[in-house]
Structures are given as structure tokens and as C-alpha cells.
């Protein structure tokens, strides 16, 4: 099967006053259509750079990013993005915020159909009745839900999530994880999730990529076999504990600490 997202040997460095600062070095990621990959790694290892590369917002120095069998050369409207900061436009209602991408991307939907679709997505994430509210009237979790709807409104085939739940409290976060599963069932997409939360990565993704410390390369890939729709209980099984253990171990290596050393600290 053809991979929808393919990242081949990507290297990238930022030019700083102190000379080039390499952030990515030999990145290999492949995501099949409908797959969901989570990318974890130490802070500052270039995870956000990765999202910008996939979105076509920047070009890598070396290597290639392929979407749908096409090399990414610039921004493309088949991508949806959501960030840690929901960046909703305060002067628009929630509904108008969700509809924003359709004002940029050419769409076959009529105005009425677009609005119906927006309302459907909002109800899917549990924001029914908030269509005409302003973002400032919503809680952090609700804003993130709205931001998710905006990322999905133009039916992107790739959804890029850059730590979208990072600023939320634990309970709201778990709520949103479940929402994500519900959304993916109704609105299939291929997902790339950047996160710091290992439990989040194994709960949402079917493939967890561990990046090494800067400059980042693919250090480890954990397959998380799916057994149908997941529930929060799945996080408290021996299998999940084993997966978390492996990931934690890999992160420690990525941070440049061997597990044995940690015991000695």
C-alpha cells in the first residue's frame, strides 16, 4: 500500500548568528493512508519544524517530503492544522471561525452546505449550541475543539496536530482524546500528532515515532496495534504499561541519559 505521508532522509538547519543550527538530521517517517502517527521526543528537538515541513510552510535543506505520491513544494490546501494555541479569531463567532478555511480553499460546497458541515463538525466535538458564541466566551478545551473543527472543515487528507492538548488540564485532555477517536471514525484523515505526552501518543496513534535529541533523527518506531475503538481503560492494561515503558526508555536514550545512570542520580 502506498504511504500517504513519506518523509525521506530529511535534514534541516536554521541559520543563526552562531552559525547553522542543525535541528533535523536524517528523518524517516512513513504513514499509510488513514494512519495516525505520533511524534515524541525531547523538547526543542525539532518537532514543530517537522509539522512546518509537512504543511509545506518551509522546505528542508536535504531530503524529501511526499504527500499522496507528490513531492511537497509549498503549502497545499489538503492539509489541516491545529496548534497548542487554538488561534481562533476573536472577532468572529465560532461558526465563522470554523468556516475560515473555506474562504481560502476553493470548495464545491454551497454556503448553506458549508454551514451545515460546520454545524455537524461542531456537534461531533460537543460544541452544539455554541455556534454563535465568541471565542472569548469559551473555555480552553472548547476553543481547542473549535480549532479542531476548523482544521477539518475543508476535508483535508492530512491533519497536523502540534501539541493541541498540551495546555489543557488532565481531565479535559482525556475528554479530547476520546473526541479525537469519535471524529476520526466519522471524518477519516491521516494524522500527524506532535506531543510530549506518552499516554496520549499510545492512546491516539497507531505508530509512535521517537526522535533523538537535537539534531533529531528517527530513533525508534513503536507500532501500536489497534483493537478497534480505544477507551481510556485500554491505557491501564499490561500491554499499555509495556508500551509506555518502552517509550520512556527510548526518551531517556534520546535525552542522552542511559536508564542505568538515572538510577544512580
Amino acid at each position: 500500500m502506498q504511504n500517504l505521508i513519506e518523509i525521506k532522509g530529511v535534514k534541516h538547519a536554521y541559520q543563526t548568528d552562531a552559525g547553522p543550527l542543525p535541528v533535523l538530521d536524517g528523518l524517516e517517517i512513513a504513514v499509510p493512508e488513514g494512519g495516525f502517527v505520533a511524534v515524541v521526543g525531547p523538547s526543542g528537538c525539532g518537532k514543530s519544524t517537522l509539522t512546518r515541513l509537512i504543511a509545506g510552510l518551509m522546505k528542508p535543506d536535504h531530503g524529501e517530503v511526499w504527500l499522496h505520491g507528490e513531492k511537497v513544494k509549498g503549502p497545499r490546501s489538503t492539509v489541516g492544522m491545529a496548534f497548542q494555541n487554538p488561534v481562533l479569531l476573536e472577532w468572529r463567532t465560532i461558526l465563522k471561525n470554523v468556516l475560515l478555511p473555506l474562504e481560502i480553499v476553493p470548495s464545491k460546497l454551497t454556503r448553506k452546505q458549508a454551514e451545515e458541515r460546520a454545524r455537524f463538525l461542531l456537534s461531533l466535538v460537543g460544541l452544539e449550541g455554541f455556534e454563535d458564541k465568541r471565542p472569548s466566551e469559551l473555555s480552553g478545551g472548547m476553543r481547542q475543539r473549535a480549532s479542531l473543527c476548523r482544521a477539518l472543515i475543508h476535508q483535508p487528507d492530512v491533519l497536523i496536530l502540534d501539541e493541541p492538548f498540551g495546555a489543557l488540564d488532565a481531565f479535559t485532555r482525556e475528554d479530547l482524546w476520546q473526541t479525537m477517536h469519535r471524529v476520526k471514525e466519522r471524518e477519516p484523515f491521516t494524522g500527524v500528532l506532535i506531543t510530549h505526552d506518552l499516554r496520549e501518543s499510545i492512546f491516539l496513534a497507531d505508530q509512535v515515532v521517537v526522535l533523538s535529541g537535537r539534531p533529531a533523527r528517527t530513533q525508534y518506531v513503536l507500532e501500536v496495534p489497534s483493537r478497534g475503538p480505544r477507551t481510556l481503560d485500554d491505557l491501564y492494561t499490561p500491554v499499555a504499561a509495556e508500551q509506555l515503558n518502552i517509550l520512556r526508555h527510548q526518551i531517556q536514550i534520546a535525552q542522552g541519559r542511559s536508564p542505568a545512570e538515572e538510577g544512580a542520580e
Binding site: V87, E90, L100, V105, S136
Partner: protein, 255 residues
């Protein structure tokens, strides 16, 4: 007490107390009219010179508004240039700060000499010069502090720079813009009056003030001050009304 009554009654009481205190101060010290005016002197002063107040007030008002309008256009353009280009910001900012640091009273004689006799032009020019600075600065800061995610949301869909400006950068800058405009309104009045008083040419409320000064007519001078304050308040609340319409979303609901 009802909230609305309080919002209305409390300020009115404060004003009345202030006026009574002022009246009492003049009466208690026995100040004559060529030394100080009391509030009770003001209505007769207005009555005596009413046609002059109307015509001079109009002159001051339109010249201020035109100067302010030019300041908005020029200040916004300058702010956009500085907000979008780092190089231009580095180049223009020192010039702008230097220009703003010059006390505008010293510019009055220069402008008056450069454009001899063109009183309307000179006055509008000064109102403009004194008031464009806050607008330029606020627009440039508003644009340059736009979080990159806002840009990315649209850029990742292939939106052009112009689209990003119209859909996000411009509306997002509006609250800062109106904040600056409120400051600029007051400044523009100062500019107009500087020209009218420092370079007297017989027009505007500044000229009326000047004639009060030459005649030691304190009631007239104070009446002019009140008239100026009145115009300033009217214009200020006009801007507030515009702000409510265009940037009302920035106001958080109480609580």
C-alpha cells in the same frame, strides 16, 4: 441604589461639587474678573460671544478632524510598512522617535514662516504632525507581534500575504489602533490650538482665547477652555462609538 442611576448620578454629583468648590474659591478669595473667573461667569461669556463660539469652534473642529484624518491614513501606512518589514522598522523608528521628541510648539513658527498666510493648511499640518505618531507605532506593533500560528493557519492553505492581512492582521490590530486613535484625538486638538494661539491669525477657538488674553477677559478664556473640552469629549466619544462598532469584540463581557 440602581446600577444605572448610580452610573449617572455619581458623576453628576462629582461635577456639581467641583463647580461649587471652584465658585467658593473665587468668592472666598475675592478674586476680581481680570484675575480669575468663576463658573457663574461662564454662561454670560458664552452668551455674549455665542456667534463667535459657533464659527470659531467650527473652524477648530474641522481643521482638527482633517488633520486627524490625514494622521490616520499616513500613520496606518507607516505602521504597515514598519510592521511588515524589519529593515524598514530599523530604518524609520529612530527618525520617528526623533521627530516625535521635538516639542511641536517650536515647529509652529517654522511652519508659519514656510507657508506664510496659509492658515488652514498650517493648522491642519500641525494637527497632523502631532497626532500620527501613536497611530504609526500602535499599528506597527500590532502587526509585528502577530503570533506566527495565525499566519500559518492561513498560509498552510495557500493564502496570499494580502489575504492574511485583510482577514487576520488588520482586524487583529484594530483594538490597538483605536487605543492610539483616542490618544491621537486629544493630541490633534493640541496641535490645532498650538497653531491658533502661538501663531495667531484670527481663526479658531485659539484666536478667541488669545483675544480674551489681550483683554484680560478671564471669563472668555475659561469659556473657551470649556468649549475646547466639549469638542474634545465629543470627538473622543465619536471614536469610542467607532471602536464599539469595529472592535467591540475586544471588549470582554464583565465577569
Amino acid at each position: 441604589m440602581n446600577k444605572h442611576i448610580r452610573a449617572f448620578v455619581v458623576p453628576v454629583i462629582a461635577v456639581v461639587v467641583f463647580l461649587l468648590f471652584w465658585e467658593w474659591l473665587v468668592w472666598f478669595n475675592g478674586w476680581p474678573r481680570f484675575k480669575m473667573a468663576a463658573p457663574s461667569d461662564l454662561p454670560p461669556a458664552f452668551e455674549r460671544h455665542w456667534p463667535l463660539f459657533l464659527s470659531m469652534g467650527w473652524q477648530t473642529l474641522w481643521r482638527t478632524v482633517v488633520g486627524l484624518f490625514l494622521a490616520v491614513v499616513f500613520g496606518t501606512l507607516l505602521g504597515m510598512i514598519m510592521g511588515f518589514s524589519r529593515t524598514m522598522r530599523d530604518a524609520l523608528y529612530p527618525l520617528l522617535v526623533g521627530f516625535n521628541a521635538i516639542p511641536k510648539a517650536t515647529v509652529v513658527p517654522i511652519v508659519a514662516l514656510m507657508f506664510v498666510g496659509q492658515h488652514d493648511f498650517n493648522t491642519v499640518l500641525l494637527a497632523f504632525m502631532i497626532s500620527f505618531f501613536p497611530i504609526a507605532v500602535s499599528v506597527s506593533i500590532g502587526l509585528s507581534t502577530l503570533e506566527p500560528e495565525y499566519r500559518d493557519i492561513l498560509r498552510s492553505l495557500g493564502a496570499s500575504q494580502a489575504t492574511i492581512f485583510w482577514k487576520i492582521a488588520l482586524p487583529k490590530t484594530l483594538p490597538e489602533f483605536f487605543g492610539a486613535l483616542k490618544v491621537a484625538v486629544t493630541l490633534a486638538f493640541i496641535g490645532t490650538n498650538l497653531m491658533e494661539i502661538v501663531s495667531p491669525h484670527g481663526r479658531g477657538l485659539g484666536a478667541l482665547f488669545d483675544s480674551g488674553r489681550t483683554n484680560s477677559d478671564f471669563p472668555l478664556m475659561f469659556a473657551v477652555l470649556i468649549a475646547l473640552a466639549f469638542l474634545g469629549i465629543v470627538l473622543y466619544y465619536f471614536v469610542v462609538a467607532l471602536e464599539k462598532i469595529f472592535a467591540g469584540w475586544a471588549e470582554r463581557a464583565p465577569g
